[in-house]
Symmetry: C2
Subunit: 374 residues, 2 copies
Amino acid sequence: MKFTVSKTRLYSALSVVSRAVSANSPIPALSGIKIDAEDDRLILTGSNSDISIRINVRTDGDNDPDIQEKGSIVIDSKYLTDIVRKMDAEKIDVEIIDGTLTRFAGNKAEFKINGFRSSEYPEIDFSVPGVSINMNAGKLASILESTAFAASVKETRPVLTGVNLNSRNGRVIATATDSFRLARTVFEGTDADFSITVPSRSLNEAKAIFSDTSKDLLIHLDTKKIQFTTDDVILQSRLLDGSYPETERLIPHEFKHELVIDKRSLIGTIDRASLMKNENMTVIRMQMKEGTDVMISNRAQEIGEFNEPVPAVSYHGAPLDISFAANYAMDALRAVDSPNVLIRFTGEMKPLIITNEAGEESILQLILPIRTYN
Amino acid sequence: MKFTVSKTRLYSALSVVSRAVSANSPIPALSGIKIDAEDDRLILTGSNSDISIRINVRTDGDNDPDIQEKGSIVIDSKYLTDIVRKMDAEKIDVEIIDGTLTRFAGNKAEFKINGFRSSEYPEIDFSVPGVSINMNAGKLASILESTAFAASVKETRPVLTGVNLNSRNGRVIATATDSFRLARTVFEGTDADFSITVPSRSLNEAKAIFSDTSKDLLIHLDTKKIQFTTDDVILQSRLLDGSYPETERLIPHEFKHELVIDKRSLIGTIDRASLMKNENMTVIRMQMKEGTDVMISNRAQEIGEFNEPVPAVSYHGAPLDISFAANYAMDALRAVDSPNVLIRFTGEMKPLIITNEAGEESILQLILPIRTYN
């Protein structure tokens, strides 16, 4: 294997591929990045078994990369990325010089690194699954921003650590829940029906890697895996096993209290209220009555208390006194993309629903209240 | 106690004073900031016993702060700083409302926080020690940047965790060493003779707090403490006990090999060489010979090797093959403020000295080589 490649093209590909690599893999070769030099391209592959990334670096009109001899090697991801980053050269020469000993040279600096044979690297199946969805990267990012945060961070019910994508009649419902709150986004998708659950971490990697929100992505999926692809990049993730809970029935559709309020003011007040912490969780209290400001308060044993009135745009219903986790409320409010939000309640211990002011459920946030003894 | 103060003035004072406070103090009140409201000023005090900071916030022409009632209270530093930062108000009203319960209000938000009585706060002696030195803040920063990094981070010999200031005949020598390397800066000071050792952490705090490098500072010191002061800010630190080692005799004055080399190129090469790590420390090898480039190399068992020639501006002496810690070399090179550096050697296992190209010892860096078996 022997080739010359521009530092910038190699480095930008490595910085993406290396995101899939975890330093402490039970399979030693998986701590590396696989480099395949083919006739007209380099193929870089990184994987941690759950997530795999493959990038083509195709030979361009300036003959970059210039492949002088085909071949394949696996080089430790951390060393490889650091070496290329710190090379003070426009072009980097790469060559297997003896067995797995590989030379990286640029300007006058020369690294000789012991790699792994490609035969030690697991075969990763990048075959394309059957169902396809076209999606703009910006759209993917906004779907994730309004759902993925609500997934569970605890491994007790693994399926809750992902985002469920449920497709029926051309509509996809993306749902995340940790069983104390739920976030849901609905978008136009594909005619195929499916229900799959994608690990949140994979989705966040997809968002990070396809950060150019103007780009169009092609998503491919089946019951085993999902792929996010552009022309030269494939991010592939396994899916979470287990059936996702039926969340539809948890969402109330009749309400007794309706509040419209300025989102930024409410977030600012809850943020201040969160300073008074009881143990790890901050529970804040919200008191509402027709014709008055909404009162946000919080009391922390031995530390002190907080009170702030926030003007309501409108409130309809009997007086209500309800408490909930401050961080859940802030996450949910931030996820709704409108200056005023509509918050609907059915009672002190019933889920509350946050949507945009018009009550559209394309982005819907649900939070369970917390019982307190004020 | 009752006063109104602008958020920005209070916050900027708190963000400085809070630097001296450590969250886990054996004296509970020391986790707080003491607020004294006097006729014409607020006085804020923070301390962790080793370092103490006091700031005057004087009433200005706009009657800010407006002291309505004198008094004193101690409020937890973390809460106080966060509350003031998150207040969405230009002015903040502060008032003791019941015993130690203190009200902070701004716009419509209201915090009531339980504080400590001022009587529980230790008396801190801010009396001014006898010896004075005038110094520009920028000068202080540059003295510290070329010395403080070389102090020890291990507590086995506490006196080595500080920077020694030794004043004789109007010249102050600032020295830091961890016994494997030494950094020294000489500057014009005062007629008084002294030798004190200031904790590195205190010096770094002084540098951070007096970050406006155009300002003039007044430094006061005696054998017990040192103060860095401007009109309204005092940073005071205790000194380290124990006699500082006689470092003068460690510095060689006759040399057998002299290398002049471009500093940035050498740092770049050593930085690349450091990628090949053996355990925690990276030892690099430097080979010199008249009329050839300097060869920097590094070999890490099982990982690989690195080689890069760096052109010398000049080299005089017999061929030399010497090894040293890469990070020590980079620290020392960065501390010398000239494009070319002069590195002088007396032998493979003797200290090497780095200065500017002219060999001026106002900034001098010493490194002990490391024995290797290449």
